[in-house]
């Protein structure tokens, strides 16, 4: 129970996110109106995705330094959960965009960048599934994973800033810093990011343990 304290924290943070996210005072902004509350649900998907994929890359690097089945499993499961968060981020973003920007997909540089980034990560899954031999699969996917993450950063955080973008904080648009003068958004936003990210790590934790058990079972069969 002692090493599971962060799972309890996850539950508390997510319950706080839902309750405070719906009830807390938010800035009154034209067009956005109450949809500003999506900040607590859409944006944490991307923060969570980046953090989970960062863990995936870390395990890939660790694998290349000293190969072990566990490290490969952690990298793979983290990448899969990161992709899940990315897909949820893109879908929630499209839903939000429909009612504020007018269209589900307006070819916003950040939307396009996110789509390309996700495709790069889908290729990671395809690449993995094309090897029968475990060590070969683990080594080559670890190398690819590092490249995929290196490609994702400019696609999401650098290129959209260089052109006009509808996303806040990009292309001359003000970031959310300009809105939350009373820090009321931050009060819920940071716990929300932490809560959703921890939920992702929890899923990675369970799936990896299951895969390790499966591996042990086949090893001894």
């Amino acid at each position: 129970m002692k090493k599971n304290w962060w799972k309890i924290l996850t539950v508390l943070l997510l319950v706080f996110t839902v309750v405070a996210g719906m009830l807390s005072e938010v800035p009154r902004l034209a067009i956005l109106n109450e949809t500003i509350r999506n900040l607590y649900f859409h944006v944490p998907m991307w923060f969570g995705m980046i953090l989970i994929l960062l863990v995936s890359v870390a395990y890939s690097i660790l694998y290349l330094r000293k190969p072990s089945v566990e490290r490969d499993i952690y990298a793979h499961e983290a990448a899969k959960v990161g992709i899940l968060f990315g897909v949820l981020g893109i879908v929630t973003g499209m839903e939000w965009a429909k009612f504020t920007w007018g269209e589900y997909w307006s070819n916003d540089p950040k939307q396009n960048g996110a789509a390309i980034g996700l495709l790069i990560y889908f290729a990671y899954l395809v690449l993995r599934s094309s090897f029968a031999e475990q060590q070969q699969r683990a080594r080559i996917s670890a190398v690819y994973n590092i490249f995929a993450f290196a490609a994702l950063i400019p696609l999401l955080f650098i290129l959209p800033r260089l052109t006009d973008s509808l996303h806040p904080g990009n292309g001359g648009n003000p970031g959310f810093n300009a809105y939350d003068l009373d820090s009321s958004l931050r009060l819920v936003f940071y716990p929300a990011v932490l809560g959703w990210t921890l939920l992702g790590f929890w899923i990675v934790n369970i799936k990896s343990r299951l895969e390790i058990i499966r591996h042990r079972l086949y090893e001894n069969a």
């Binding site: 319950v15 929890w202 899923i203 369970i206 058990i213």
Partner: protein, 94 residues
């Protein structure tokens, strides 16, 4: 046993959330929880919805979904934990 205890805590939280709702949803109460800044009254917000108290219905629904999913995750966590323990015992007995 521990499962039962967690289930009891969850039931309590849910009933507490449900019990809170009618209190705050009293139609007679006209406590304005949030007042608009005078210069930005033309921007529509869900004030009426909050006075009706119906936003709490949404929160209860959201919490139900969240608690359901989290419970599923906890159950999964335990199942994997049990498997891990079983596997360890098997190694010891061998």
């Amino acid at each position: 046993m521990r499962m039962l205890r967690i289930l009891a805590i969850c039931c309590f939280t849910l009933t507490a959330a449900l019990g809170l709702q009618p209190v705050q949803a009293q139609p007679g109460q006209t406590t304005v929880e949030y007042t608009a800044a005078p210069q930005s009254t033309d921007i529509e917000m869900a004030d009426a919805l909050r006075q009706d108290g119906k936003i709490y219905v949404v929160i209860v629904v959201l919490l139900t979904v969240l608690v359901g999913v989290l419970f599923y995750l906890i159950a999964l966590d335990r199942k994997v934990g049990k498997l891990e323990k079983q596997l360890k015992d098997e190694f010891v007995n061998r």
